[in-house]
């Protein structure tokens, strides 16, 4: 029977898979970039160092985002949902998304399709920010209930 516990386990598994994917991408970045440049029909000669710079710079917010998600899930698992720590964690996740969007946006100068990644990351950051605002209000309500005698 499907339940909340299994759902959290599935989310954790997905995060771990993304972490593996991130590590593999960074570890094989030079090879992947060369393969992509050979495969692409666009005129991208000489852009290999830029692609590598984007991947390595993007690794930092992406890794931090995945780590934060894992910490968030662990707290939810421990039934600590509406806490100020979770609000702070969501805020950091949101900023990680915006950092990724910024890196992608800068990368548009040598490869235009990065703009789609930038827009998607910024949109994701925005959604997380709204969720963060909502959880912050829920924390305030929870505090009020806890201190109502």
């Amino acid at each position: 029977m499907w339940n909340g516990e299994k759902s959290i386990s599935l989310s954790k598994l997905c995060i771990l898979l993304f972490m593996c994917l991130l590590v593999v991408t960074v570890a094989f970045a030079p090879w992947l970039t060369r393969w992509f440049l050979d495969f692409s029909r666009a005129e991208l000669k000489g852009t290999e160092p830029f692609f590598l710079a984007t991947i390595y710079a993007g690794f930092v917010p992406a890794a931090y985002l995945l780590y934060s998600l894992l910490r968030l899930l662990r707290r939810i698992e421990a039934e600590q949902v509406f806490t100020t720590e979770n609000v702070e964690r969501l805020r950091l996740i949101s900023w990680s998304c915006f950092a990724g969007a910024g890196i992608s946006f800068v990368s548009v100068f040598y490869y235009f399709p990065w703009v789609f990644v930038a827009v998607a990351a910024a949109f994701m950051g925005l959604i997380v920010r709204v969720v963060k605002n909502m959880v912050a209000q829920a924390v305030a309500l929870q505090n009020e209930v806890d201190y109502t005698v």
Partner: protein
């Protein structure tokens, strides 16, 4: 918070201990402590009613508004 809870004063006047009041009101000692220390954000009418009954007083004897700078 400009609302001051003068529960201690009333309890001293009635010579009632925290444990006794908590038992009469039907709340835990921890919640009574929240009230006494002024950490409470709100008080239910039912709690107020029980406190007034236990201490034989009016709500105004327990709560006081003091303007803050």
């Amino acid at each position: 918070m400009p609302i001051i809870v003068n529960l201690d004063v009333m309890m001293a006047k009635r010579k009632m201990s925290s444990g006794e009041l908590a038992e009469k009101v039907g709340i835990s000692q921890a919640n009574l402590s929240i009230l006494k220390t002024g950490k409470a954000k709100a008080m239910r009418f039912s709690t107020m009613e029980a406190i007034c009954k236990a201490l034989d007083c009016q709500p105004g004897d327990i709560l006081e508004y003091r303007e803050q700078d």
